[in-house]
Amino acid sequence: VPAVIPPTVDRGNDWFWEGVADRKLLLQRCAGCGLLRRHGSPMCGSCHSVQSDTQESTGRGTIHSWIVSKHPTEPDADDRIVVLVELEEGIRLVSNLVGADPVEVTNEAPVELCFETYGDVTLPQFRLVR
């Protein structure tokens, strides 16, 4: 099992982790102009709206880049494949690829969303579309 550092939930990212609790991958959408905001942002850099709602991602995307993460101080912790996923909505996010060996990973490989729970922490994760 990998050693997972839990997220810190605050007023800027609570919407995302509430979505994860419901097993949904939510994207923040500007209520003023409809632009998707990457990461959490309290204001739209385009229209300055401070209002936002969410859009559920289809969970489909491709691997834009990837690495193998070894835990630097806990040698017994499992390696994790960290991926930068390009979602089909055009947003990139950092996650993990599960159920795959590093030799199977290629850039542009199609992936799909799943959820995994590690101890007390549930994370949105991705699997190769086989």
Binding site: N13, I67, V68, S69, K70, H71, V82, R92, V94, L123
Partner: protein, 375 residues
């Protein structure tokens, strides 16, 4: 610009300095003052950047600077290293300070170690850290991988940079890796830090040490001890959707658009082209940033840096010697500011690996850069 670097100073670079970071900073500042032939009372400005533990007033008190009229810190971690020159020169040029000391001092190895895994995820890092991006090596590697994939760059290609850095360090008595060159086989035998991107020998050192640089007006510089080194241009670039230095969200992440912008700004401000640069100091917390910057600054085309390095261009004697002191991998990791000192030595003609007739030196730190030149 009408400002000049008139003094440089440094402590020894080690893994255990045996003294406080503040003492290292103070010693480096005094060494720079001595080099310039200036007194503490000549200084009225101080500049460093984010993550410095040494308070400006504590450094001033230790050194005996009676009053500071200008302090400033740049953002962006090591990417701000060369921005210190811009902030110091801007203050002098605007008449808001007469002489500004840039300082940087750390016990990165014997004190709080740099680059260690973060134990908790603050909200701003909760988008990445729970997935295992817990060290700078991993954060940067997720960026590098796209570049390496796009252009077919291998870890062995990265090793050819490290071999050059260690070759330059091997003849620099101030370098931690003095007289310790490596071969490509040594590089390939070093352990993986982030597979399949970085091996141990692709990573900068953890160093103890301090450095300082003094900037004043060109007019005053002409009456001081050293040949003035002109600040021909200095700027920063922080593009929306970038991160500290890496980027995951720009349209093309196999590029380094901040460095590309810096090059365009600097060549225009200094009235030169990339071909006029005789020596380049290029910030490298990890070896791939050298390749990305060589391309972004226009010294070679996209994807060509691996061949540019393999063909010997970046060695002393090549068309563009890079990191002639050994860089942050070979000399020491004083967060990039030691690169400014080597740039000054190249213009003065006093570097241990001197490039004959060096007239323009680029000191690049990814998100900030300066061009140094003869007066």
């Amino acid at each position: 610009m009408t400002t000049a670097i008139v003094g440089i100073g440094q402590t020894e670079f080690s893994k255990d300095s045996g003294r406080s970071e503040l003492q290292l900073a103070a010693e480096a500042v005094v060494a720079a003052l001595t080099d310039a032939g200036m007194k503490p009372s000549d200084v009225d400005g101080m500049v460093t950047f984010s993550q410095d533990t040494n308070d400006e007033l504590a450094v001033a008190r230790s050194v005996g600077v009676p009053e500071l009229r200008w302090t400033a810190r740049t953002s962006g971690g090591g990417g701000g290293a060369s921005a210190t020159v811009q902030l110091a020169a801007a203050a002098v040029e605007a008449g808001m300070a007469d002489a500004v000391v840039i300082y940087r001092a750390f016990n990165e190895r014997s004190g709080r170690r740099f680059g260690q895994p973060l134990p908790t995820a603050p909200p701003s890092m909760s988008w990445t850290l729970p997935y295992g991006l817990d060290t700078p090596a991993k954060m940067y590697s997720l960026w590098f991988q796209r570049y390496m994939h796009r252009y077919g760059v291998t870890n062995e290609d990265l090793g050819r940079y490290t071999v050059v850095a260690r070759k330059h360090a091997a003849t620099n008595p101030a370098a931690w890796f003095y007289e310790r060159p490596i071969t490509l086989e040594d590089h390939q035998a070093s352990r993986w830090i982030v597979e399949p991107i970085l091996r141990k020998l692709d990573c900068c050192q953890e160093s103890d040490g301090g450095v300082a640089v003094i900037v004043t007006s060109m007019e005053r510089a002409r009456h001081l001890r050293q040949e003035p080194v002109r600040v021909a241009a200095a700027s920063q670039s922080h593009l929306v959707d970038g991160d500290i230095m890496f980027n995951y969200h720009h349209a093309d992440i196999a590029d380094f658009p901040e460095a590309r912008s810096l090059g365009e700004q600097l060549w225009k401000a200094a009235g030169i082209t990339p071909g006029d640069i005789d020596v380049a100091m290029i910030y490298e917390n990890f070896s791939p940033v050298v390749l990305l910057q060589l391309e972004a600054f226009g010294f070679c085309g996209p994807g060509e840096a691996k061949d540019f390095i393999a063909d010997g261009h970046i060695e002393v004697g090549g068309s563009l010697p890079v990191n002639t002191h050994g860089g942050l991998l070979g000399e020491a990791y004083i967060h990039g500011v030691n690169n400014i000192l080597e740039g000054v030595r190249q213009i003065r003609g006093t570097a241990v690996n001197q490039v004959a007739g060096a007239e323009h030196v680029l000191v690049a730190a990814g998100r900030s850069a300066a061009v140094l030149a003869h007066a």
